[in-house]
Amino acid sequence: MTDANTPPHAFFLPRSGLEDLFQILQSDGYQVLGPTVVNDTVMIRPLESIAQLPQGVSDRQDGGFYRLVDGDPELSFEFVVGPNGPKNYLFPAKLKLLEFHVGNERFELDAGQPDVPKYAFLGVRPCELAAVKVQDRVFGVAEPGMFRCESETWYTLARRQALFIAVNCTRPAGTCFCASWGTGPRATEGFDLALTELRGGFIVEVGSDRGQAIVGRLPTREPTVSELELAELKLERAAEQMGRRLETGDVKELLDHDLEHPEWDKVAQRCLSCGNCTMVCPTCFCCTVEDSTYLADENITRTRYWESCFTHQFSYLTSGPERATIRGRYRHWLRHKLSTWWDQFDMSGCVGCGRCITWCPVGIDLTEEIPRFREGGHAKAENTTQSRGT
């Protein structure tokens, strides 16, 4: 790189260059993970070719509603997030932590370091990048490249190696509210490359040295002024077209203020306590480590599974579950996302991806719930009601 010439702010990659990008990622040893249609749903999966991208596919999302529809046949990224995301690979739902057997005087480890693939996330959305940043904090990443948590071997390795090729959102879904958190629709950090899709190709922004090196090998050209303006316009319009909106300024105080607000009872009557919201949430980190033994060779495996705070066993003590009612469990979840996350990690646990709204079977919508907490309530007369039945 010549330091006299500062690299231009943005490049234009013609649509055919997507194939080149894919080849580069593969030849650099990355496992490319990107969106593809699985069971009528856009899922992040390992891709073998760009033909698997959902070209001409768009999505309709609403509370408890997800459908794929025909989109612009020339666009490859006209949908937004499906139920899974990078979390499923960086923090897998089921992960073997240790395998060992009891020796005479010690526990003998049977497996060495895990073989973590080099992931390249292609088409990752700005809200997903924000969620990775949240999980970085949870798993102990103080600063980029500074991992203090020694227990998170998989996350540490996967995260260090991962390449993020973001796609900015030019068409938000009906449940999106990233603009309310400032986490989208444009990626501002945490990416190696960020693409904005136009009909003929992509505006490419560089976010890291690794991204710069890849751009240097791509058939890019200078973008025209009208291409840049069009991309800007699309992103501005996307911000205006957010399907949902959340007033975030007072939300922590709101949920801290009145733990016995009557709205908790109302939402508990609708909540099925199924845990879907926790399974699709890109920041939820709760988990359980379980032991299993093989009858044949006495080897012991410690496996970590995602856990949901909507189950009884999550808070189970011998005296029973600490959060015995759906009201208590929903309250814990929503307060964790929007309030107590700040106490624990000094940031919001919500990034505005809208998945918990889309994938809730009864369409509970936190952007509808929060305004209800602003209305009515017990105000100062709190602490008078105690626990209720399930």
């Binding site: 010690r106 032991d291 705070c309 808070s315 005296s319 307060r335 107590t340 106490d343 624990q344 626990s387």
Partner: protein, 291 residues
């Protein structure tokens, strides 16, 4: 100042991978009552024994190979960190599996985890300890430490309540302490038998029998949820400042280092923000159900 009276907090020794327990041998198993045993353990590796330290009120995850882990308070003397005792009541799969062990058995330990009792605040103060049932276990290291250093605090009181006389743990030590001038011990039971000639009733009734210099008292509470609440509130009513009342809480820890999320109490991770909390830090959620 002995290490255990300082405010420094020993960190877990389990090494690079926090999910890997460190093997330890069971040295002795002492039956405390009909469902409670004290397991004395020792790390197999000498180098671990040399570096392992704990503060009163901290806990370990005890691991039964192939069965699982559960959190147990350290109940032994922190001045003798080469042998570690945990007092275990039979309640679930791990405790039942532990019960089948004999001296010499190999188990695993991870820890020590959490924040313990505020030993540094007890200097020249009155210390009132309120314990219910097995809740005395995490307080025994405090008792050992203060009894080793009888001039450290001004006065030491133990109020201990149990369901019946047969429920008492550390019964012989309680008798020793009753004869020790450095500590005032009052034990009460909910249901007395014909041999019991002590007080009957809930443990907070014992407050009538002692005079508390409220502003100068540090209160330590550990017991069932109801006892924790009633005891804490009773001392607040006696005008002990809320930042001088400390309560050790129980939740179902799985990891021990604020990662798995199970033990959350509101925004607190009981495993790492606690298990010992200053009342004034949790006043808003302390008595909430379902939180």
């Amino acid at each position: 100042m002995p290490h255990t009276l300082s405010s420094s907090r020993p960190e877990p020794i389990c090494g690079m991978d926090t999910w890997m327990p460190v093997p330890a041998r069971i040295l002795a198993i002492e039956q405390e009552n009909f469902n409670t045993w004290t397991f004395t353990t020792r790390f197999v590796a000498e180098e671990i024994r040399k570096i392992y330290r704990f503060a009163p009120g901290q806990f370990n995850m005890l691991y039964v190979p192939g069965v699982g882990e559960a959190a147990f308070s350290l109940s032994s003397d922190p001045a003798e960190p080469e042998t570690l005792a945990h007092t275990v009541r039979r309640v679930g799969s791990v405790t039942r599996a532990l019960e089948r062990f004999k001296p010499g058995g190999l188990i695993g330990l991870r820890g020590p985890f959490g924040h313990g009792w505020p030993m540094e605040l007890m200097r020249d103060r009155h210390v009132v300890i309120v314990a219910g049932g097995i809740g005395i276990a995490p307080l025994r290291p405090v008792l050992y430490t203060l009894l080793h250093n009888p001039d450290y605090c001004k006065r030491l009181v133990l109020l201990y309540g149990c369901r019946t006389p047969a429920d008492r743990v550390y019964a012989s030590e309680l008798e020793d302490w009753e004869n020790n001038d450095a500590i005032e011990v009052l034990v009460t039971v909910d249901n007395a038998d014909s041999e019991w000639n002590g007080p009957v009733g809930v443990v907070t009734n014992l407050l009538r029998r002692i005079k508390v210099d409220a502003k100068n008292t540090i209160v330590l509470v550990c017991g069932p949820k109801v006892l924790n609440r009633v005891a804490a509130w009773s001392f607040l009513q006696l005008h002990v400042p809320p930042d001088q009342v400390f309560v050790s809480l129980e939740r179902n820890m799985n990891c021990g280092f604020a990662r798995c999320g199970h033990c959350q109490l509101g925004g607190k991770f009981v495993c790492s923000d606690g298990p010992v909390f200053r009342f004034s830090d949790i006043a808003d959620i302390f008595a909430k159900e379902d939180i």
